[in-house]
C-alpha cells in the first residue's frame, strides 16, 4: 500500500467510522418512548380523578385495553363544578392552576382555555383589626438547613407568637395541613423540586371543565361509576378486584389512584397484604381535613383576600378571574379549623360560625347581606376523607416508597404519590398518571 492509498483508505475509514455509527444511532433514537410496545393484557384504573383520567387517556393513546372504576357517582375526584349558585361556575374542589410551567399549562395553551393571574390583594386579620401588612416577616419557612419540626413550633422559635397563630395556620393551610403537623423541613424539600412556577391562575370556567373537556371526554365511555373496590387479590397472575356489591373485575395490571386517606384507612383489602414498609409509608404521608364554603351576599363588603381568621384562616373573593361577579366569598378551611367546623355537625352550623366571624371583621355586614351558602366538605366525602397530602414530621422518603409499584401488578398514582414536589396539585396528579403508564410500559417491555 502506498502513501496515497493509505491516506485515501484512512480517510474513508474515518468518515465511515463516524458517520455509520451516527446514522445507526439516529435510526435507533425514537421520538416517543415505547413506540413499538404492544400489550394484550387489561389495565384497570381505580379512581377517576385527574391521575386516573390521565392514565386512561395515555393508555388509550397507546391502544391498551383499560377500564376506569370510580367509587362515587361521577368522575373528577377532587375536582368539581357547582352551577346555579352564582352567575358564574364555581370550583368545588381544586381551583387554582399553580404555575403555568406544567403539562396542564401546555394543555391550556393548546385548548385556548381562558385563565387569569390571581394577583388579588390581601388584608390580614391581626389583633382584632384588618390591616394591609403584618408587623413581622412571616416568610421564614424557606431556606437551607431547616429543622424537621412543625410550622407552629418553628414560628414560635422565630418570634412569631400567639398573635400570628392563624396567619401561620393559613400558610400551612395552603399545603392542606394544620400548622402543628406540617413539617418545615419536609415541605421545604418539596418546594426545592417545584418546577411549575409560583404564579397562581384562575379559570374563567372551572378547573373541572378543563379536565372534563380535554381529558375525561376522551375516556368517558370506559368509566364505571358507583363501583367501590373493597378487595384487590393480586396473588395469582391475574388480578381480581371485588367491589362492595361483590362484583368482580379481572385485570393484568392495576393503577390505584385513590386518595392516600383511603389507602391509610384500609378501605381496600389487599391479598396478599401490602408489605409493611408500604403501609408504613402510607401512614407517614399526611392528609388533613379540608372544606370549601361558598357564601353569597347581596353586597361586596369584603376584601379580595382576608387572612388570619380564627374560624377560617383564608377567605377569598371567588369572583376573581370570572366573567361575572356575583358577591361570592370563599372560605377555604384546612387542618384543625376544618376538623372543628366538621364537628359542628351541619352545614347551617358551619355557615353560622363563618358569618359570625365575618360580622366581627366587618361590623355586622355579613349577616346583614347574607343570602345563601354552599358547603363542600371533602372530609365527610367517604371516597376522599380530607383535602390533599402534605409532608409530615419525620416523613423521610415515604412518598417514594409509597409510590413504588408491586410485583409488576399494582401501580400507585394520585397527587400523594407525586415524588417531584408537585403533590397537592392537579398537574402533580396528572404527572403520576402518566408516570405509572410509563412504568407499566417499561415492565411490559422487559
Amino acid at each position: 500500500m502506498n502513501r496515497r492509498q493509505f491516506i485515501k483508505q484512512s480517510t474513508l475509514l474515518s468518515i465511515g467510522g463516524l458517520l455509520i455509527p451516527s446514522a445507526l444511532l439516529a435510526a435507533c433514537r425514537k421520538e416517543t418512548l415505547f413506540e413499538d410496545v404492544t400489550y394484550d393484557g387489561k389495565v384497570i384504573i381505580i379512581g377517576a380523578g385527574a391521575a386516573g383520567l390521565y392514565a386512561a387517556y395515555m393508555l388509550k393513546s397507546k391502544g391498551i385495553d383499560f377500564q376506569l372504576l370510580e367509587a362515587s357517582s361521577t368522575y373528577g375526584g377532587r375536582l368539581g363544578k357547582l352551577t346555579g349558585f352564582a352567575n358564574f361556575p364555581i370550583d368545588t374542589g381544586a381551583q387554582w392552576l399553580h404555575g403555568k410551567n406544567s403539562i396542564l399549562g401546555d394543555l391550556i395553551k393548546k385548548s385556548k382555555t381562558n385563565i387569569t393571574l390571581d394577583d388579588s390583594e390581601t388584608k390580614f386579620w391581626f389583633n382584632n383589626q384588618l390591616i394591609d401588612a403584618l408587623p413581622q416577616n412571616t416568610n421564614i419557612f424557606e431556606g437551607e438547613e431547616l429543622p424537621d419540626i412543625s410550622y407552629e413550633a418553628y414560628a414560635l422559635q422565630n418570634g412569631l407568637g400567639n398573635e400570628y397563630k392563624y396567619i401561620i395556620e393559613n400558610i400551612a393551610g395552603d399545603q392542606g395541613a394544620a400548622a402543628s403537623r406540617l413539617s418545615v423541613y419536609g415541605n421545604n424539600k418539596d418546594e426545592e423540586n417545584w418546577a411549575s412556577g409560583d404564579d397562581d391562575f384562575k379559570f374563567e370556567e372551572t378547573y373541572f371543565d378543563l379536565i372534563d373537556k380535554q381529558i375525561a371526554s376522551q375516556v368517558k365511555d370506559q368509566i364505571l361509576v358507583n363501583t367501590i373496590i373493597t378487595k384487590i387479590d393480586y396473588s395469582q397472575s391475574e388480578i381480581i378486584l371485588t367491589d362492595s356489591n361483590n362484583n368482580t373485575f379481572n385485570a393484568n395490571k392495576v393503577i390505584i389512584t385513590v386518595p392516600i386517606s383511603i389507602l391509610k384507612s384500609g378501605d381496600i383489602q389487599f391479598i396478599p397484604a401490602l408489605p409493611i414498609e408500604k403501609t408504613t409509608a402510607f401512614s407517614k404521608i399526611g392528609m388533613d381535613a379540608g372544606m370549601k364554603v361558598f357564601l353569597k351576599f347581596s353586597n361586596r363588603f369584603f376584601d379580595q383576600n382576608i387572612i388570619g381568621g380564627a374560624v377560617c384562616a383564608a377567605y377569598a373573593d371567588d369572583s376573581i378571574g370570572k366573567a361575572q361577579n356575583d358577591n361570592i366569598l370563599l372560605a377555604f378551611i384546612m387542618g384543625e379549623q376544618a376538623e372543628y367546623l366538621t364537628s359542628l355537625g351541619s352545614d347551617a352550623a358551619i355557615t353560622s360560625a363563618l358569618i359570625q366571624e365575618l360580622d366581627i371583621m366587618y361590623n355586622g355586614q355579613a349577616s346583614a347581606s347574607f343570602i345563601a351558602s354552599h358547603v363542600e366538605n371533602w372530609t365527610t366525602n367517604p371516597f376522599v376523607k380530607g383535602a390533599y397530602s402534605y409532608s409530615t414530621i419525620g416523613m423521610g422518603d415515604a412518598r417514594k416508597i409509597a409510590s413504588e409499584s408491586l410485583s409488576e401488578k399494582l401501580y400507585f398514582a394520585g397527587e400523594a404519590m407525586n415524588t417531584n414536589g408537585h403533590h397537592q396539585t392537579v398537574h402533580g396528579a396528572v404527572e403520576t398518571g402518566y408516570r405509572e403508564v410509563i412504568n407499566i410500559l417499561t415492565d411490559i417491555k422487559k
Binding site: 463516524l18 451516527s22 425514537k30 421520538e31 418512548l33 403555568k100 406544567s102 423540586n193 410509563i438
Partner: protein, 227 residues
Amino acid sequence: MKSIIFSSVLLLHIGCTIAQEFKLDASYEYLYSGQWDKAIQTYNVSRPFLTEKQPLLMNGLNTSISYVFKNEKHLKHGINVSYAYFQSSAENENFNNILQLHFINLGYILHYENKEKSKGLYSDLIISATSSGLFRRINENHFVYDETTSKAFGIGGDICLKAGYCLTLKNNYFLSPFISIGYTPYLYSPNSEAVINQTKELTSKNWTGILRTQIGLTFHLKPQQND
C-alpha cells in the same frame, strides 16, 4: 474610533506574527444526549393531545475559531472557541413548541501535523470547558412564567478529536474537510427537564453526558509559512 481601529490592527498584526495558524470551522453536528432524549421522549409520550411529536435534539450547526501558536515542532498548541446551535420544532394547532439549545466551548487545542509524512493530513485534540443554554419558545415567543423566561443553563467539560485533510487554496490560504468526534462526560444542567418536560427529576437526572460528531470544512490562514 481611530484608537479602536488602530488597536485592532495592531493586535491582528501581533497575532499574525506569533501565530502559526488561524482556523475557522463550519460544520454540521450530530448530538446524542441520553437524558435530554429521555425528557423529550417523555414529553412526547405524556402529551397525547399533541399529534405532532417533538423531534429529538440531534441536528445542529457548529462554528469555531482556533488560534495555533507558532512552533517548529509537529505538535503545536493553541486556543479554540466554538459555538453550536440545535433546534427542535413541533407545530401543533395553537401550539408551536420550539426547543433551542446553544453551546459555547472555550478550549485548549493540540494540533498535530507532520508535513513531511502526512501530506496535508492533520489532527486536533481539543479539551474545552463547555456551557449550554436551553430555551423554550411557544407560538413564536419565549415561554415566560413567573415573569422569567424558561431556561436551563449547563456547565461541563468536553474532549474532542478531529481529523482533517488540508487543500491549498492560494499561498497562505487552505481549506480542509474534517470530521470530529466529541464527548462531554458530564454536563451539569439541573433545570433541563423543567424546560423540556416541565418536571424536575421525574424522568431524568440533573446532568447529562453528550456524544457528538461533526463533519465540515475548515478555512485555514497560515500567515508565516516558511516551508
